[in-house]
Symmetry: C2
Subunit: 209 residues, 2 copies
């Protein structure tokens, strides 16, 4: 399996960290987003969505969307279960993962892609160019603060975001928190439960995958 | 199981349609969003996220997020499989479901919630009020057109969005297409493959659940 990857891309990091937690080694192929290599003809022939991560199976099948790639890895390598166990356990992980995505990752992405010069004219990844919307960047930054408060409250009640077990919800939240540093949002002592969690999850070996 | 529901809410419809496809009967409790009942103290005690759908299990456990609720229903009632079958099949459904959500549902929601008077000051559902961003509404409308073109191309190659089998990706796309009518976006003969799919999926009994 080949993973088309870029170290600084949050969604690519989600897949690398997920694979590392399971001990799956992926053949990484760097697509240099800083040089816009994902927009070139060579990569377009591999992934017409012009985005990383993209997984290509040994038979040539293409999988895009980071969570779909993680889902595939979970199915072929079920342990440790990162999408939860049992009917309710899986639903609870799905619930928290989606809250992290909708309230956190989306907010961070809105903030970064609509304010950072590098993304001028490229406010959404993919084949179509969109102008930045400054008001959306401001809304994103405001929502990141609410997201951190929400996580701090949640993490006062359990060790990990979806409960007692580490899951993909923690991976998604970690990449969101680290991406939010671009917006000068850092996790400090005013959110002590989130800080405890952040320090613990950041120090897992998979966090540097 | 009680489902807190509102007929016109797209994400609530996703759960109703999903359950109907599986023949699961849910005890529906109407939360009248047109009267903002979801913001009141009574519903806040049930779901602090102030949104429908919300599923309450017989033991009192609360599940929010429509896809998490669907995931639970899939686990307790696996047939017909609406999240796909087999490792690759599940990953492909996840990929297409997410594309429908990110490129379609989110675009429609951006368009509707940032332009319709009813949502003034309520551009995002949930406990925090956000002002509408007119530029985001325009971007949403533009993205709906791209989404329809993308689906039309895809549906020229297979019967349903994720391939040969009906899945949650079709349910999500249908609720998106119907919600987009608020933006005066209708599916016509200029996207014939999408029209063929839309007519077929709309006529399933579950579509009126």
């Amino acid at each position: 399996m080949k993973l088309y990857d870029f170290a600084m891309a949050p969604n690519a990091r989600r897949v690398r960290m997920f694979a590392a937690e399971k001990g799956i080694e992926l053949d990484l192929i760097v697509v240099d987003l800083s040089k816009r290599e994902q927009m070139g003809a060579e990569f377009q022939a591999i992934n017409p969505r012009l985005a990383v991560p993209a997984l290509v199976l040994d038979d040539g099948t293409l999988l895009t969307e980071s969570v779909a790639i993680c889902r595939y890895l979970e199915e072929i390598h079920p342990e440790p279960a990162l999408f939860g166990s049992g009917a309710l356990g899986k639903a609870v992980v799905e619930m928290w993962h989606r809250r992290v995505e909708l309230e956190g990752l989306q907010a961070v992405a809105d903030g970064v892609r609509n304010s950072v010069d590098f993304f001028a004219g490229r406010a959404i990844s993919g084949p179509i160019d969109f102008a930045q919307i400054p008001q959306l960047a401001e809304r994103g930054k405001q929502r990141v603060d609410s997201f951190y408060d929400m996580l701090d409250e949640r993490l006062g009640t359990c060790e990990y975001i979806a409960g007692a077990e580490f899951s993909i919800a923690d991976i998604a939240a970690l990449i969101g928190c680290d991406f939010a540093k671009v917006l000068k949002k850092r996790i400090g002592e005013d959110t002590p439960n989130l800080k405890r969690w952040y320090d613990a999850v950041s120090s897992r070996p998979s966090a540097s995958a």
